[in-house]
Symmetry: C2
Subunit: 337 residues, 2 copies
């Protein structure tokens, strides 16, 4: 795996394969400077079918690495959503490795130095100063946290996928928004602007939405709303519910109590996911993912809730994947741009 | 539809098509006495693919109705899970009607008096005395409640399917059990015997289960448990999680606090589903489904929680479907066996 360890002239590729998109970066192996970038569709190793995963990887890497430079790629490292670390036989990692191998060989990138990591490892590796130990949280469509010891995950928390967990992540927030809309329809829950905004986003007929002026929402109209909403959700892949997150943020900003409750509960779930790793006071917590990246909507409330920790948000896993690829070529973490 | 309304000699078929199985009953049109029964696989109108649904219906009806009697079937009524009532264009009902039509024509049953109802309507129609008004709750794999006025549902509550709702039903309980097992693995939740029993039921390797004596459950073993559990769940249809309900009941009977908490919360969800229909004091509530049928494990706690209502458990939707079929032939509700 480290046959090129002493050769420093050339390029490395770092890949961040997340639930929403796959991003690849070409960087100089010596100083880590970025020389090219590419992007393609979703890269979750568990939920994206193998051939599609390989196609997205190939597309992102092809855009990042001009054909003429593909022969000088020394190492490739990728962080995948859905590739929770050890044990080795875990299916996400196996699928990620197969898809990445297929993509690289299709592009004529023949280095033997190729490593597959989880998204949470890649996020951690991207923190300034390239720390070796601490905690990391990825809160995007899904949610996973890990304790990293010597750059390797020693324990994980969450990452159970949308059916069983990922509480507090984008899927979870979108599902809660849809549930709140349906509860408002039949009276199990209180009124919320989400009924209208979620309904509109899912394409239910305008004349079945709650009356804009707040008048009586007739039973037949409620039933028609529900009859439009349910199939619209069932016709898409479940994780697409994460697309509704902006509507919840908007409603919360407008003081909708139901939306605020959903976000408050999401933050509590994220905090619990970190808390399960038994953080020590002041310990480093690298956070990323759509919800907790530097501009992420839940970064501030999460930081308030985990005030005892040193929270460092990173944009995504790209910088970390490049750092991990450079480690494969023998460059020590300190050689950063 | 009622061309046979005055002809009382002959047979009717009642069908109860639920998330777990499809059951058909052949009964005498005059007195409702049962003359044959048949059973086949799942009959949820939303989740079972059309051809399979038709095959299950045909199999159940074929077993209930000997070939020689199929020419004398005057009416067929069926209550389907996943066929929430109005509006008419709702997909479950449309699919149920198509599948039932195909099944009957395959068997040579040619009556034009065929009606599709929701499971909750059929359950209500099966209550002793054949009431016309009141409430009904079906709590099986899924959960739906309805207010019935003049034998027709006037409002429903719940019935949103496993992805968005059905809180407190069999799927929900099984999913909560699996979530509790996973939370115990990574420390987000407390210890529970469900970790062992759910793991065993889902086929995770015995040497990854928590040590029987209560000793240290090593991190590598925990990770291997998780790596075995997640694919086992993802490889089956999600609703199969309902198969885990008996494990939760068993654990609760053994005073497992986590299991007891799941069941307590399930009962609260069922009560809320009924409560949304604004029951009047003393009002009739017909209950059925695996959880709240006469021997159902949640009947007693639910009845305690809804003590102000007149709760009547019925075994399933078969008697109600027969009653609805007899109504189609012109028999009044009072003509019961």
């Amino acid at each position: 795996m480290k046959s090129d360890a002493n050769r420093r002239d050339g390029w490395v590729v770092g890949i961040d394969a997340g639930g929403t998109r796959t991003r690849a970066v070409l960087a100089d192996a010596r100083d880590g400077r970025v020389r090219g970038e590419g992007e393609a569709g979703p890269g979750n190793a568990l939920t994206v079918p193998g051939p599609e995963l390989a196609a997205h990887l190939a597309e992102a890497v092809a855009s990042a690495v001009p054909a003429a430079m593909r022969g000088q790629v020394l190492a490739v490292a990728a962080g995948f959503a859905g590739a929770a670390r050890a044990p080795e036989e875990e299916r996400g990692r196996v699928r990620a490795r197969a898809a990445l191998g297929a993509a690289l060989s299709r592009l004529g990138i023949r280095t033997g130095a190729v490593e597959v990591h989880s998204d949470v490892e890649a996020a951690f590796a991207g923190a300034p100063g390239r720390p070796a130990d601490g905690l990391a949280l990825v809160a995007g469509t899904g949610v996973v946290a890990a304790r990293i010891v010597g750059r390797v995950p020693a324990a994980t928390s969450g990452g159970d996928g949308w059916l069983l967990g990922d509480d507090g992540g984008g899927f979870w927030i979108g599902r809660e928004a849809t549930r709140a809309a349906l509860r408002a329809v039949d009276g199990r829950g209180g009124p919320t602007v989400l009924t209208a905004t979620v309904g509109r986003a899912l394409g239910v007929a305008a004349d079945t939405l709650p009356p804009a002026g707040g008048g009586c929402w007739a039973p037949a109209r409620r039933a028609a709303y529900r009859a439009g909403l349910l199939p619209a959700v069932l016709d898409r892949p479940p994780v697409r519910l994460a697309d509704l997150v902006p509507l919840v943020l908007e409603a919360a900003a407008d003081n909708d109590l139901v939306a605020r409750g959903i976000l408050r509960e999401a933050v509590a779930h994220l905090a619990l996911t970190v808390h399960a790793l038994r953080p020590r006071p002041g310990e480093l917590l690298v956070v990323t993912g759509g919800l907790t990246a530097p501009d992420g909507p839940l970064l501030t409330p999460l930081a308030a809730r985990l005030a005892g920790l040193t929270i460092v948000p990173v944009a995504d896993g790209r910088a970390g994947a490049v750092a991990l690829a450079r480690l494969l070529t023998g460059h020590r973490p300190a050689d950063t741009p």
